[in-house]
Amino acid sequence: MSEINERIRDGSVRVVTAEEMPYLVDELGTGGAVREVDVVTTGTFGAMCSSGLFLNTGHSDPPIKISKAWLNNVEAYGGIAAVDLFLGATQPSEDRGNEYGGAHVMEDLVSGREVELRAQGVVTDCYPRSELETTLRLDDFNQAIMVNPRNAYQRYAAATNSTERTLHTYMGTLLPRYGNVSYSGAGSLSPIPNDPDFEYIGVGTRIFLCGGQGQIIGSGTQHLPQNGFATLMVKGDLKEMNSEFLRGATFQDYGPSLYVGLGVPIPVLNEGIAKKTAVRDADIETEIVDYGVPRRARPAVRRVNYEELYSGVVDIDGSEVKTSALSSRHVARKVASALSDSIRRGEFLLTAASEPLSRVGRNSPVRQTKEFLLVGDVMSCEVVTVREEISIKEAARMIVGGTFDHLPVVSADERLIGMVTAWDISKAVASDKTSHISEMMTRKVFIASPDEPLELAARKLHHHRISALPVVDKDHRVIGMLTSDHLSRLYGRRRSP
Protein backbone atom coordinates (compact mmCIF):
# COMPACT_ATOMS: atom_id res chain seq x y z
CA MET A 1 0.00 0.00 0.00
CA SER A 2 2.88 2.37 0.67
CA GLU A 3 3.92 1.78 -2.96
CA ILE A 4 0.49 2.91 -4.09
CA ASN A 5 0.69 6.01 -1.90
CA GLU A 6 4.11 6.68 -3.41
CA ARG A 7 2.56 6.61 -6.87
CA ILE A 8 -0.26 8.89 -5.67
CA ARG A 9 2.37 11.37 -4.50
CA ASP A 10 4.37 11.27 -7.71
CA GLY A 11 1.26 11.36 -9.90
CA SER A 12 1.75 7.99 -11.62
CA VAL A 13 -1.10 6.23 -9.86
CA ARG A 14 -3.60 4.34 -12.05
CA VAL A 15 -7.22 4.72 -10.91
CA VAL A 16 -10.44 3.29 -12.35
CA THR A 17 -14.00 3.40 -11.06
CA ALA A 18 -15.83 0.33 -9.81
CA GLU A 19 -18.03 0.49 -12.90
CA GLU A 20 -15.03 0.20 -15.22
CA MET A 21 -13.26 -2.53 -13.27
CA PRO A 22 -15.37 -5.55 -14.45
CA TYR A 23 -14.50 -4.78 -18.08
CA LEU A 24 -10.81 -4.47 -17.26
CA VAL A 25 -10.79 -7.77 -15.43
CA ASP A 26 -12.60 -9.40 -18.36
CA GLU A 27 -9.91 -8.11 -20.66
CA LEU A 28 -6.77 -8.56 -18.58
CA GLY A 29 -7.75 -11.22 -16.08
CA THR A 30 -7.30 -10.66 -12.37
CA GLY A 31 -3.50 -10.91 -12.60
CA GLY A 32 -3.35 -8.31 -15.35
CA ALA A 33 -5.72 -6.04 -13.44
CA VAL A 34 -3.47 -6.17 -10.36
CA ARG A 35 -0.53 -5.08 -12.53
CA GLU A 36 -2.45 -2.37 -14.38
CA VAL A 37 -4.69 -0.85 -11.69
CA ASP A 38 -3.70 0.63 -8.32
CA VAL A 39 -7.00 1.90 -6.97
CA VAL A 40 -10.69 1.27 -7.66
CA THR A 41 -12.99 4.09 -6.59
CA THR A 42 -16.55 3.52 -5.41
CA GLY A 43 -19.34 5.99 -4.79
CA THR A 44 -22.91 6.24 -3.63
CA PHE A 45 -25.36 9.11 -3.28
CA GLY A 46 -28.64 8.47 -1.56
CA ALA A 47 -30.89 9.23 1.37
CA MET A 48 -29.08 8.33 4.59
CA CYS A 49 -31.46 9.14 7.42
CA SER A 50 -29.02 8.13 10.12
CA SER A 51 -26.84 11.21 9.75
CA GLY A 52 -26.15 14.24 11.87
CA LEU A 53 -23.86 17.02 12.89
CA PHE A 54 -21.95 17.96 16.04
CA LEU A 55 -21.64 21.72 16.36
CA ASN A 56 -19.69 23.81 18.79
CA THR A 57 -21.03 27.35 18.83
CA GLY A 58 -18.35 28.94 21.02
CA HIS A 59 -19.12 30.70 24.30
CA SER A 60 -21.22 33.84 24.55
CA ASP A 61 -20.70 36.69 26.95
CA PRO A 62 -22.10 36.28 29.55
CA PRO A 63 -21.82 32.52 28.99
CA ILE A 64 -24.76 30.15 28.60
CA LYS A 65 -25.13 26.44 29.31
CA ILE A 66 -27.43 25.49 26.46
CA SER A 67 -30.14 22.99 27.35
CA LYS A 68 -32.35 23.38 24.31
CA ALA A 69 -31.46 24.84 20.93
CA TRP A 70 -32.99 25.40 17.52
CA LEU A 71 -31.33 26.14 14.18
CA ASN A 72 -33.79 27.70 11.74
CA ASN A 73 -36.47 26.31 14.08
CA VAL A 74 -35.14 22.76 13.85
CA GLU A 75 -34.39 21.44 17.32
CA ALA A 76 -30.84 20.32 17.98
CA TYR A 77 -29.97 18.24 21.05
CA GLY A 78 -28.45 20.48 23.71
CA GLY A 79 -27.75 18.00 26.47
CA ILE A 80 -24.00 17.80 25.78
CA ALA A 81 -21.76 20.17 27.79
CA ALA A 82 -22.45 23.90 27.49
CA VAL A 83 -22.20 24.82 23.81
CA ASP A 84 -22.01 21.49 21.97
CA LEU A 85 -25.09 20.57 19.98
CA PHE A 86 -26.13 17.59 17.91
CA LEU A 87 -28.37 18.22 14.95
CA GLY A 88 -30.10 15.15 13.50
CA ALA A 89 -30.81 15.02 9.77
CA THR A 90 -34.39 13.79 10.10
CA GLN A 91 -35.54 16.29 12.75
CA PRO A 92 -38.43 18.30 11.23
CA SER A 93 -38.67 22.04 11.78
CA GLU A 94 -41.23 23.50 14.13
CA ASP A 95 -42.58 26.02 11.63
CA ARG A 96 -42.25 24.34 8.22
CA GLY A 97 -42.73 20.73 9.32
CA ASN A 98 -41.37 18.04 7.04
CA GLU A 99 -40.54 20.42 4.20
CA TYR A 100 -37.53 21.65 6.14
CA GLY A 101 -35.45 19.74 8.64
CA GLY A 102 -32.03 19.09 10.09
CA ALA A 103 -30.79 17.91 6.69
CA HIS A 104 -31.80 21.22 5.12
CA VAL A 105 -29.99 23.17 7.85
CA MET A 106 -26.87 21.19 6.97
CA GLU A 107 -27.29 21.99 3.27
CA ASP A 108 -27.85 25.68 4.08
CA LEU A 109 -24.68 25.78 6.16
CA VAL A 110 -22.61 24.07 3.46
CA SER A 111 -24.01 26.47 0.87
CA GLY A 112 -22.75 29.41 2.92
CA ARG A 113 -26.18 30.62 4.05
CA GLU A 114 -26.89 32.09 7.47
CA VAL A 115 -28.90 30.15 10.01
CA GLU A 116 -30.73 31.48 13.05
CA LEU A 117 -29.63 29.98 16.36
CA ARG A 118 -32.04 30.22 19.28
CA ALA A 119 -31.01 28.68 22.58
CA GLN A 120 -32.31 28.31 26.12
CA GLY A 121 -29.94 27.83 29.01
CA VAL A 122 -29.95 26.50 32.53
CA VAL A 123 -28.78 29.30 34.77
CA THR A 124 -25.87 28.39 37.06
CA ASP A 125 -23.24 30.43 38.86
CA CYS A 126 -20.78 29.82 36.06
CA TYR A 127 -23.34 30.12 33.23
CA PRO A 128 -25.60 33.03 34.18
CA ARG A 129 -27.27 33.52 30.83
CA SER A 130 -30.70 32.00 30.10
CA GLU A 131 -31.28 32.84 26.46
CA LEU A 132 -29.31 33.40 23.28
CA GLU A 133 -30.33 34.39 19.78
CA THR A 134 -27.90 34.94 16.96
CA THR A 135 -27.28 34.42 13.26
CA LEU A 136 -24.41 32.16 12.25
CA ARG A 137 -22.65 30.92 9.15
CA LEU A 138 -20.65 27.73 8.91
CA ASP A 139 -17.40 29.65 9.45
CA ASP A 140 -18.70 31.05 12.73
CA PHE A 141 -18.87 27.64 14.40
CA ASN A 142 -15.70 26.41 16.07
CA GLN A 143 -16.37 22.91 14.83
CA ALA A 144 -19.01 21.41 12.57
CA ILE A 145 -18.35 17.68 12.46
CA MET A 146 -20.65 15.36 10.59
CA VAL A 147 -21.03 12.04 12.40
CA ASN A 148 -23.32 9.53 10.73
CA PRO A 149 -24.18 6.46 12.80
CA ARG A 150 -25.32 4.36 9.84
CA ASN A 151 -24.39 5.04 6.21
CA ALA A 152 -23.52 3.16 3.04
CA TYR A 153 -25.70 0.06 3.53
CA GLN A 154 -24.18 -2.88 1.67
CA ARG A 155 -27.58 -3.38 0.01
CA TYR A 156 -31.09 -2.34 0.76
CA ALA A 157 -34.42 -4.02 0.10
CA ALA A 158 -36.49 -2.49 -2.70
CA ALA A 159 -40.09 -1.53 -1.96
CA THR A 160 -43.49 -2.10 -3.52
CA ASN A 161 -47.09 -1.86 -2.35
CA SER A 162 -49.83 -4.50 -2.71
CA THR A 163 -52.61 -2.45 -1.10
CA GLU A 164 -55.32 -0.36 -2.68
CA ARG A 165 -53.97 2.99 -1.62
CA THR A 166 -50.86 5.04 -2.34
CA LEU A 167 -48.31 4.81 0.46
CA HIS A 168 -45.86 7.55 1.37
CA THR A 169 -42.76 6.00 2.92
CA TYR A 170 -39.07 6.57 3.41
CA MET A 171 -38.78 4.52 0.24
CA GLY A 172 -40.73 7.24 -1.55
CA THR A 173 -44.22 7.18 -3.05
CA LEU A 174 -45.46 3.65 -3.60
CA LEU A 175 -48.38 3.39 -6.00
CA PRO A 176 -51.23 0.96 -5.21
CA ARG A 177 -51.57 -2.58 -6.63
CA TYR A 178 -47.85 -3.03 -7.30
CA GLY A 179 -47.87 0.23 -9.27
CA ASN A 180 -44.10 0.71 -8.96
CA VAL A 181 -40.94 -0.49 -7.29
CA SER A 182 -38.67 1.94 -5.51
CA TYR A 183 -35.08 1.06 -4.71
CA SER A 184 -31.97 2.54 -3.25
CA GLY A 185 -28.25 1.88 -3.49
CA ALA A 186 -25.58 2.33 -6.13
CA GLY A 187 -25.25 -1.31 -7.25
CA SER A 188 -21.75 -2.19 -8.38
CA LEU A 189 -20.54 1.33 -7.51
CA SER A 190 -21.48 0.92 -3.83
CA PRO A 191 -18.48 0.79 -1.50
CA ILE A 192 -19.10 -2.32 0.61
CA PRO A 193 -20.05 -4.73 -2.23
CA ASN A 194 -16.58 -4.04 -3.64
CA ASP A 195 -14.89 -5.09 -0.39
CA PRO A 196 -17.45 -7.38 1.26
CA ASP A 197 -14.88 -9.11 3.46
CA PHE A 198 -13.37 -5.86 4.72
CA GLU A 199 -9.90 -6.60 3.43
CA TYR A 200 -9.25 -2.87 3.15
CA ILE A 201 -12.25 -1.11 4.70
CA GLY A 202 -11.81 -0.76 8.46
CA VAL A 203 -11.66 1.65 11.36
CA GLY A 204 -9.74 4.72 10.26
CA THR A 205 -10.10 4.23 6.50
CA ARG A 206 -10.02 7.61 4.76
CA ILE A 207 -13.10 8.20 2.59
CA PHE A 208 -14.71 10.79 0.39
CA LEU A 209 -17.58 12.28 2.38
CA CYS A 210 -19.84 14.89 0.75
CA GLY A 211 -16.95 16.51 -1.12
CA GLY A 212 -14.46 16.49 1.75
CA GLN A 213 -12.23 13.83 3.27
CA GLY A 214 -13.68 11.84 6.13
CA GLN A 215 -13.02 8.63 8.01
CA ILE A 216 -14.77 5.40 8.75
CA ILE A 217 -14.92 5.37 12.54
CA GLY A 218 -16.41 1.90 12.92
CA SER A 219 -19.16 -0.36 11.79
CA GLY A 220 -22.51 1.39 11.70
CA THR A 221 -25.58 0.76 13.82
CA GLN A 222 -27.60 -2.29 12.69
CA HIS A 223 -24.39 -3.61 11.05
CA LEU A 224 -25.24 -7.18 10.04
CA PRO A 225 -22.51 -8.39 7.69
CA GLN A 226 -23.34 -12.06 8.25
CA ASN A 227 -26.61 -11.42 6.36
CA GLY A 228 -25.11 -9.10 3.74
CA PHE A 229 -26.30 -5.92 5.44
CA ALA A 230 -23.07 -4.29 6.62
CA THR A 231 -23.14 -0.57 7.44
CA LEU A 232 -20.54 2.10 8.23
CA MET A 233 -20.26 4.79 10.85
CA VAL A 234 -18.45 7.75 9.36
CA LYS A 235 -17.26 11.22 10.26
CA GLY A 236 -16.12 14.27 8.34
CA ASP A 237 -15.65 18.00 8.57
CA LEU A 238 -18.69 19.90 7.30
CA LYS A 239 -16.46 22.86 6.51
CA GLU A 240 -14.80 20.88 3.70
CA MET A 241 -18.08 19.70 2.19
CA ASN A 242 -19.85 20.72 -0.96
CA SER A 243 -23.61 20.96 -1.59
CA GLU A 244 -23.23 19.01 -4.80
CA PHE A 245 -22.73 15.95 -2.57
CA LEU A 246 -24.90 16.88 0.42
CA ARG A 247 -28.59 17.63 -0.03
CA GLY A 248 -31.57 18.04 2.25
CA ALA A 249 -34.61 16.12 0.99
CA THR A 250 -38.20 15.52 2.01
CA PHE A 251 -40.11 12.30 1.76
CA GLN A 252 -43.78 13.15 1.53
CA ASP A 253 -45.73 12.41 4.73
CA TYR A 254 -42.59 10.87 6.19
CA GLY A 255 -40.09 13.59 6.89
CA PRO A 256 -36.74 15.12 6.05
CA SER A 257 -33.66 13.12 5.18
CA LEU A 258 -30.12 13.79 4.05
CA TYR A 259 -28.64 12.74 0.72
CA VAL A 260 -25.02 11.85 1.44
CA GLY A 261 -22.31 11.36 -1.17
CA LEU A 262 -19.84 8.77 0.07
CA GLY A 263 -16.96 7.07 -1.73
CA VAL A 264 -14.26 4.64 -0.65
CA PRO A 265 -11.06 4.02 -2.65
CA ILE A 266 -10.02 0.38 -2.67
CA PRO A 267 -6.38 -0.50 -3.43
CA VAL A 268 -5.98 -3.48 -5.72
CA LEU A 269 -3.45 -5.25 -3.51
CA ASN A 270 -3.97 -8.80 -4.80
CA GLU A 271 -5.98 -10.88 -7.24
CA GLY A 272 -8.65 -11.55 -4.62
CA ILE A 273 -9.40 -7.85 -4.32
CA ALA A 274 -9.25 -7.45 -8.11
CA LYS A 275 -11.88 -10.15 -8.42
CA LYS A 276 -14.14 -8.61 -5.78
CA THR A 277 -13.94 -5.11 -7.23
CA ALA A 278 -15.02 -6.58 -10.57
CA VAL A 279 -18.49 -7.08 -9.10
CA ARG A 280 -21.34 -6.22 -11.51
CA ASP A 281 -24.88 -4.92 -10.98
CA ALA A 282 -26.20 -8.37 -11.87
CA ASP A 283 -24.15 -9.94 -9.03
CA ILE A 284 -25.72 -7.81 -6.31
CA GLU A 285 -29.02 -9.15 -5.17
CA THR A 286 -31.69 -7.80 -2.91
CA GLU A 287 -35.36 -8.41 -2.25
CA ILE A 288 -38.46 -6.51 -3.24
CA VAL A 289 -40.60 -6.30 -0.13
CA ASP A 290 -44.22 -5.32 0.29
CA TYR A 291 -44.60 -2.10 2.30
CA GLY A 292 -48.35 -2.68 2.21
CA VAL A 293 -47.84 -4.95 5.23
CA PRO A 294 -47.17 -2.53 8.07
CA ARG A 295 -45.11 -4.90 10.20
CA ARG A 296 -41.42 -5.15 10.97
CA ALA A 297 -41.18 -8.38 9.00
CA ARG A 298 -42.49 -7.24 5.65
CA PRO A 299 -43.04 -10.11 3.23
CA ALA A 300 -40.68 -10.46 0.27
CA VAL A 301 -42.32 -10.41 -3.13
CA ARG A 302 -39.31 -11.68 -5.06
CA ARG A 303 -35.54 -11.52 -5.32
CA VAL A 304 -34.03 -9.10 -7.77
CA ASN A 305 -30.58 -7.87 -8.79
CA TYR A 306 -29.49 -4.30 -9.47
CA GLU A 307 -29.18 -4.84 -13.22
CA GLU A 308 -32.89 -5.67 -13.31
CA LEU A 309 -33.73 -2.71 -11.09
CA TYR A 310 -31.70 -0.35 -13.29
CA SER A 311 -33.45 -1.64 -16.42
CA GLY A 312 -36.57 0.33 -15.42
CA VAL A 313 -39.03 -2.57 -15.29
CA VAL A 314 -39.26 -5.79 -13.31
CA ASP A 315 -41.73 -8.60 -13.51
CA ILE A 316 -44.04 -9.15 -10.55
CA ASP A 317 -46.49 -12.03 -10.92
CA GLY A 318 -46.49 -11.79 -14.67
CA SER A 319 -46.93 -8.05 -15.03
CA GLU A 320 -44.31 -5.44 -15.83
CA VAL A 321 -43.80 -3.00 -13.00
CA LYS A 322 -41.84 0.23 -13.40
CA THR A 323 -38.84 0.70 -11.13
CA SER A 324 -37.20 3.89 -10.04
CA ALA A 325 -34.51 4.83 -7.59
CA LEU A 326 -34.34 7.22 -4.69
CA SER A 327 -30.58 7.29 -4.77
CA SER A 328 -28.87 8.90 -7.72
CA ARG A 329 -26.61 6.89 -9.97
CA HIS A 330 -25.67 10.09 -11.73
CA VAL A 331 -24.27 11.70 -8.59
CA ALA A 332 -22.80 8.36 -7.40
CA ARG A 333 -20.71 8.36 -10.60
CA LYS A 334 -19.67 11.93 -9.85
CA VAL A 335 -18.58 10.85 -6.36
CA ALA A 336 -16.41 8.06 -7.78
CA SER A 337 -14.90 10.32 -10.43
CA ALA A 338 -14.32 13.21 -8.00
CA LEU A 339 -12.55 10.75 -5.71
CA SER A 340 -10.50 9.41 -8.64
CA ASP A 341 -9.52 12.97 -9.57
CA SER A 342 -8.34 13.90 -6.10
CA ILE A 343 -6.28 10.69 -5.93
CA ARG A 344 -4.70 11.50 -9.30
CA ARG A 345 -3.95 15.03 -8.12
CA GLY A 346 -2.09 13.53 -5.17
CA GLU A 347 -4.50 15.05 -2.63
CA PHE A 348 -6.00 11.85 -1.33
CA LEU A 349 -3.78 9.19 0.26
CA LEU A 350 -4.89 5.71 1.27
CA THR A 351 -4.76 4.64 4.91
CA ALA A 352 -4.33 1.25 6.47
CA ALA A 353 -7.14 0.48 8.92
CA SER A 354 -6.17 0.63 12.57
CA GLU A 355 -8.68 -2.10 13.35
CA PRO A 356 -10.86 -4.40 11.23
CA LEU A 357 -14.62 -4.05 11.12
CA SER A 358 -16.49 -6.76 12.95
CA ARG A 359 -17.61 -9.68 10.81
CA VAL A 360 -20.77 -10.26 12.81
CA GLY A 361 -23.21 -7.71 14.02
CA ARG A 362 -26.60 -7.46 15.56
CA ASN A 363 -29.90 -6.05 14.41
CA SER A 364 -32.55 -7.52 16.69
CA PRO A 365 -36.03 -6.20 17.28
CA VAL A 366 -36.63 -4.04 20.33
CA ARG A 367 -37.71 -5.89 23.46
CA GLN A 368 -41.25 -4.67 24.00
CA THR A 369 -42.00 -4.81 27.70
CA LYS A 370 -45.20 -2.78 27.79
CA GLU A 371 -48.58 -4.34 27.06
CA PHE A 372 -48.95 -4.92 23.34
CA LEU A 373 -52.39 -6.13 22.33
CA LEU A 374 -53.07 -8.24 19.27
CA VAL A 375 -56.33 -8.60 17.39
CA GLY A 376 -56.63 -12.16 18.71
CA ASP A 377 -56.66 -10.88 22.31
CA VAL A 378 -59.70 -8.71 21.76
CA MET A 379 -61.84 -10.17 18.96
CA SER A 380 -65.08 -12.07 19.47
CA CYS A 381 -64.71 -15.73 18.70
CA GLU A 382 -68.42 -16.44 18.48
CA VAL A 383 -69.02 -15.40 14.96
CA VAL A 384 -71.99 -16.40 12.85
CA THR A 385 -71.22 -16.95 9.20
CA VAL A 386 -73.64 -17.56 6.35
CA ARG A 387 -73.51 -19.21 2.93
CA GLU A 388 -74.22 -17.16 -0.13
CA GLU A 389 -77.31 -19.15 -1.07
CA ILE A 390 -79.45 -17.90 1.79
CA SER A 391 -82.20 -15.35 1.20
CA ILE A 392 -82.25 -11.81 2.40
CA LYS A 393 -85.01 -12.62 4.81
CA GLU A 394 -82.95 -15.31 6.50
CA ALA A 395 -79.97 -12.98 6.70
CA ALA A 396 -82.13 -10.26 8.21
CA ARG A 397 -83.41 -12.70 10.80
CA MET A 398 -79.91 -13.70 11.78
CA ILE A 399 -78.84 -10.11 12.26
CA VAL A 400 -81.92 -9.29 14.34
CA GLY A 401 -81.46 -12.41 16.45
CA GLY A 402 -77.68 -12.11 16.81
CA THR A 403 -75.29 -9.62 18.29
CA PHE A 404 -73.59 -8.37 15.13
CA ASP A 405 -74.59 -6.03 12.36
CA HIS A 406 -72.22 -7.89 10.06
CA LEU A 407 -72.50 -11.34 8.52
CA PRO A 408 -69.38 -12.79 6.92
CA VAL A 409 -70.32 -14.89 3.90
CA VAL A 410 -68.34 -18.08 3.41
CA SER A 411 -67.92 -20.68 0.69
CA ALA A 412 -68.59 -24.39 1.10
CA ASP A 413 -65.06 -24.89 2.44
CA GLU A 414 -65.59 -22.11 5.00
CA ARG A 415 -63.42 -19.51 3.29
CA LEU A 416 -64.45 -15.89 3.48
CA ILE A 417 -65.91 -14.65 0.20
CA GLY A 418 -67.90 -11.58 1.19
CA MET A 419 -69.74 -9.64 3.84
CA VAL A 420 -73.28 -8.43 4.37
CA THR A 421 -74.25 -5.67 6.76
CA ALA A 422 -77.60 -4.62 8.19
CA TRP A 423 -77.32 -1.56 6.01
CA ASP A 424 -76.89 -3.69 2.84
CA ILE A 425 -80.03 -5.57 3.79
CA SER A 426 -82.15 -2.45 4.37
CA LYS A 427 -80.92 -1.08 1.06
CA ALA A 428 -81.84 -4.27 -0.75
CA VAL A 429 -85.26 -4.43 0.87
CA ALA A 430 -85.93 -0.78 0.06
CA SER A 431 -85.00 -1.17 -3.59
CA ASP A 432 -86.85 -4.50 -3.82
CA LYS A 433 -84.46 -5.67 -6.53
CA THR A 434 -82.44 -8.48 -5.06
CA SER A 435 -83.48 -11.53 -3.15
CA HIS A 436 -80.23 -13.40 -2.53
CA ILE A 437 -77.30 -12.14 -0.61
CA SER A 438 -74.83 -13.29 -3.26
CA GLU A 439 -76.09 -10.39 -5.38
CA MET A 440 -75.68 -7.72 -2.74
CA MET A 441 -72.78 -8.73 -0.53
CA THR A 442 -69.55 -6.80 -0.56
CA ARG A 443 -66.93 -9.00 -2.15
CA LYS A 444 -63.91 -6.89 -1.40
CA VAL A 445 -63.71 -7.32 2.35
CA PHE A 446 -61.04 -5.79 4.55
CA ILE A 447 -59.72 -8.39 6.95
CA ALA A 448 -57.56 -8.74 10.02
CA SER A 449 -55.40 -11.58 11.23
CA PRO A 450 -55.27 -12.71 14.87
CA ASP A 451 -51.56 -11.87 15.28
CA GLU A 452 -51.91 -8.36 13.90
CA PRO A 453 -51.32 -5.57 16.42
CA LEU A 454 -54.61 -4.05 17.52
CA GLU A 455 -53.37 -0.59 16.67
CA LEU A 456 -52.99 -1.49 13.00
CA ALA A 457 -56.45 -3.04 12.81
CA ALA A 458 -57.89 0.08 14.45
CA ARG A 459 -56.18 2.21 11.83
CA LYS A 460 -57.74 0.03 9.12
CA LEU A 461 -61.22 0.54 10.58
CA HIS A 462 -60.69 4.25 10.74
CA HIS A 463 -59.05 4.57 7.35
CA HIS A 464 -61.74 2.73 5.42
CA ARG A 465 -64.58 4.12 7.57
CA ILE A 466 -65.89 0.69 8.45
CA SER A 467 -67.06 -0.68 11.75
CA ALA A 468 -66.06 -4.33 11.63
CA LEU A 469 -63.29 -6.56 10.36
CA PRO A 470 -63.64 -10.32 10.04
CA VAL A 471 -60.58 -12.04 11.49
CA VAL A 472 -59.30 -14.88 9.30
CA ASP A 473 -56.66 -17.55 9.70
CA LYS A 474 -54.03 -18.27 7.11
CA ASP A 475 -56.46 -20.40 5.09
CA HIS A 476 -58.87 -17.48 4.92
CA ARG A 477 -61.34 -19.14 7.29
CA VAL A 478 -63.26 -16.79 9.57
CA ILE A 479 -62.23 -17.30 13.18
CA GLY A 480 -63.49 -14.12 14.77
CA MET A 481 -64.78 -10.61 14.42
CA LEU A 482 -63.28 -7.29 15.48
CA THR A 483 -65.62 -4.33 15.69
CA SER A 484 -65.24 -0.69 16.60
CA ASP A 485 -67.36 -1.58 19.65
CA HIS A 486 -64.53 -3.78 20.91
CA LEU A 487 -62.15 -0.88 20.61
CA SER A 488 -64.33 1.63 22.39
CA ARG A 489 -65.07 -0.83 25.19
CA LEU A 490 -61.38 -1.56 25.57
CA TYR A 491 -60.55 2.10 25.68
CA GLY A 492 -63.31 2.79 28.21
CA ARG A 493 -62.13 -0.03 30.46
CA ARG A 494 -58.53 1.06 30.33
CA ARG A 495 -59.32 4.63 31.26
CA SER A 496 -61.65 3.90 34.17
CA PRO A 497 -59.76 2.53 37.18
Partner: protein, 128 residues
Protein backbone atom coordinates in the same frame (compact mmCIF):
# COMPACT_ATOMS: atom_id res chain seq x y z
CA UNK B 1 -50.70 20.02 -28.14
CA UNK B 2 -52.40 19.93 -24.77
CA UNK B 3 -55.15 22.36 -23.87
CA UNK B 4 -56.41 23.09 -20.39
CA UNK B 5 -60.15 23.81 -20.43
CA UNK B 6 -61.65 25.76 -17.57
CA UNK B 7 -65.37 25.04 -17.65
CA UNK B 8 -67.39 27.52 -15.66
CA UNK B 9 -70.73 27.16 -13.86
CA UNK B 10 -73.72 27.28 -16.15
CA UNK B 11 -72.16 25.32 -18.99
CA UNK B 12 -70.65 22.43 -17.08
CA UNK B 13 -73.69 20.21 -17.66
CA UNK B 14 -73.65 20.70 -21.45
CA UNK B 15 -72.01 18.13 -23.77
CA UNK B 16 -69.34 20.60 -24.76
CA UNK B 17 -66.55 18.20 -25.73
CA UNK B 18 -68.81 16.11 -27.96
CA UNK B 19 -70.21 19.14 -29.73
CA UNK B 20 -66.69 20.49 -30.37
CA UNK B 21 -65.64 17.11 -31.77
CA UNK B 22 -68.67 17.05 -34.08
CA UNK B 23 -68.07 20.57 -35.26
CA UNK B 24 -64.32 20.40 -35.84
CA UNK B 25 -64.03 16.67 -36.63
CA UNK B 26 -60.81 16.76 -34.64
CA UNK B 27 -59.58 13.73 -32.71
CA UNK B 28 -59.64 14.85 -29.12
CA UNK B 29 -58.11 12.79 -26.37
CA UNK B 30 -59.30 13.57 -22.85
CA UNK B 31 -56.24 13.10 -20.65
CA UNK B 32 -57.53 14.31 -17.34
CA UNK B 33 -60.86 15.63 -16.13
CA UNK B 34 -61.99 16.99 -12.82
CA UNK B 35 -65.62 18.00 -13.06
CA UNK B 36 -68.01 18.60 -10.19
CA UNK B 37 -71.50 20.07 -9.96
CA UNK B 38 -70.41 23.64 -10.51
CA UNK B 39 -67.26 23.74 -12.61
CA UNK B 40 -64.56 21.66 -14.22
CA UNK B 41 -60.97 21.39 -15.39
CA UNK B 42 -60.29 19.21 -18.39
CA UNK B 43 -56.98 18.55 -20.10
CA UNK B 44 -57.30 17.44 -23.74
CA UNK B 45 -54.74 16.55 -26.36
CA UNK B 46 -55.30 17.66 -29.96
CA UNK B 47 -53.26 17.41 -33.15
CA UNK B 48 -51.22 20.52 -33.82
CA UNK B 49 -52.96 21.37 -37.11
CA UNK B 50 -56.42 21.32 -35.50
CA UNK B 51 -55.31 23.11 -32.37
CA UNK B 52 -56.39 26.68 -33.06
CA UNK B 53 -59.70 25.56 -34.57
CA UNK B 54 -60.50 23.44 -31.52
CA UNK B 55 -59.45 26.22 -29.20
CA UNK B 56 -61.81 28.66 -30.94
CA UNK B 57 -64.68 26.16 -30.87
CA UNK B 58 -64.32 25.75 -27.12
CA UNK B 59 -64.06 29.48 -26.60
CA UNK B 60 -67.26 30.01 -28.64
CA UNK B 61 -68.98 27.82 -26.06
CA UNK B 62 -67.77 29.92 -23.16
CA UNK B 63 -64.83 27.74 -22.11
CA UNK B 64 -61.59 29.41 -21.04
CA UNK B 65 -58.77 27.64 -22.91
CA UNK B 66 -55.10 27.72 -21.97
CA UNK B 67 -52.36 26.12 -24.04
CA UNK B 68 -50.22 23.89 -21.85
CA UNK B 69 -46.92 24.50 -23.54
CA UNK B 70 -44.80 23.93 -20.52
CA UNK B 71 -47.01 22.34 -17.89
CA UNK B 72 -44.21 21.25 -15.60
CA UNK B 73 -40.82 22.69 -14.76
CA UNK B 74 -37.86 20.71 -13.43
CA UNK B 75 -35.35 22.81 -11.57
CA UNK B 76 -32.02 21.40 -12.71
CA UNK B 77 -30.13 23.00 -9.82
CA UNK B 78 -32.21 20.98 -7.38
CA UNK B 79 -32.63 17.74 -9.35
CA UNK B 80 -30.19 14.98 -8.38
CA UNK B 81 -31.33 12.64 -11.18
CA UNK B 82 -32.56 9.95 -8.85
CA UNK B 83 -35.43 9.04 -11.12
CA UNK B 84 -38.12 8.74 -8.45
CA UNK B 85 -40.44 10.77 -10.71
CA UNK B 86 -40.12 8.30 -13.59
CA UNK B 87 -42.21 5.48 -12.20
CA UNK B 88 -44.73 7.85 -10.62
CA UNK B 89 -45.79 9.73 -13.75
CA UNK B 90 -48.80 8.16 -15.48
CA UNK B 91 -47.97 9.72 -18.85
CA UNK B 92 -44.25 8.95 -19.06
CA UNK B 93 -43.04 12.53 -18.85
CA UNK B 94 -39.64 11.62 -17.41
CA UNK B 95 -36.95 9.30 -18.68
CA UNK B 96 -33.26 8.60 -18.29
CA UNK B 97 -30.92 9.97 -20.91
CA UNK B 98 -27.66 8.33 -19.92
CA UNK B 99 -27.68 8.70 -16.16
CA UNK B 100 -29.54 12.01 -16.20
CA UNK B 101 -33.29 12.42 -15.88
CA UNK B 102 -34.91 14.56 -18.56
CA UNK B 103 -38.50 15.75 -18.83
CA UNK B 104 -40.63 15.75 -21.95
CA UNK B 105 -42.91 18.45 -20.57
CA UNK B 106 -45.37 18.15 -23.45
CA UNK B 107 -46.61 14.85 -22.03
CA UNK B 108 -47.59 16.24 -18.65
CA UNK B 109 -51.30 16.43 -17.80
CA UNK B 110 -50.74 18.20 -14.48
CA UNK B 111 -51.96 15.39 -12.24
CA UNK B 112 -49.44 16.57 -9.60
CA UNK B 113 -48.36 13.09 -8.46
CA UNK B 114 -44.69 13.75 -9.08
CA UNK B 115 -44.62 17.02 -7.14
CA UNK B 116 -44.70 15.33 -3.75
CA UNK B 117 -42.83 12.25 -4.93
CA UNK B 118 -39.70 14.26 -5.75
CA UNK B 119 -37.51 14.16 -2.62
CA UNK B 120 -35.59 17.24 -3.75
CA UNK B 121 -38.74 19.28 -4.40
CA UNK B 122 -37.36 20.05 -7.85
CA UNK B 123 -40.68 19.88 -9.73
CA UNK B 124 -43.25 22.61 -10.09
CA UNK B 125 -46.50 22.85 -12.04
CA UNK B 126 -47.06 25.93 -14.14
CA UNK B 127 -50.63 26.78 -13.19
CA UNK B 128 -52.65 28.88 -15.58
Amino acid sequence: MKLMLHVSPGIVRKPIVSSVILETKALINIERAKVDAVSGEIVVDVDLDKCSEVKRAFEDRGVRVVLLENPIIKDDDECVHCGACISICPTGTFRFEGSEVVADAGRCVQCASCITACPQRALRLVLK
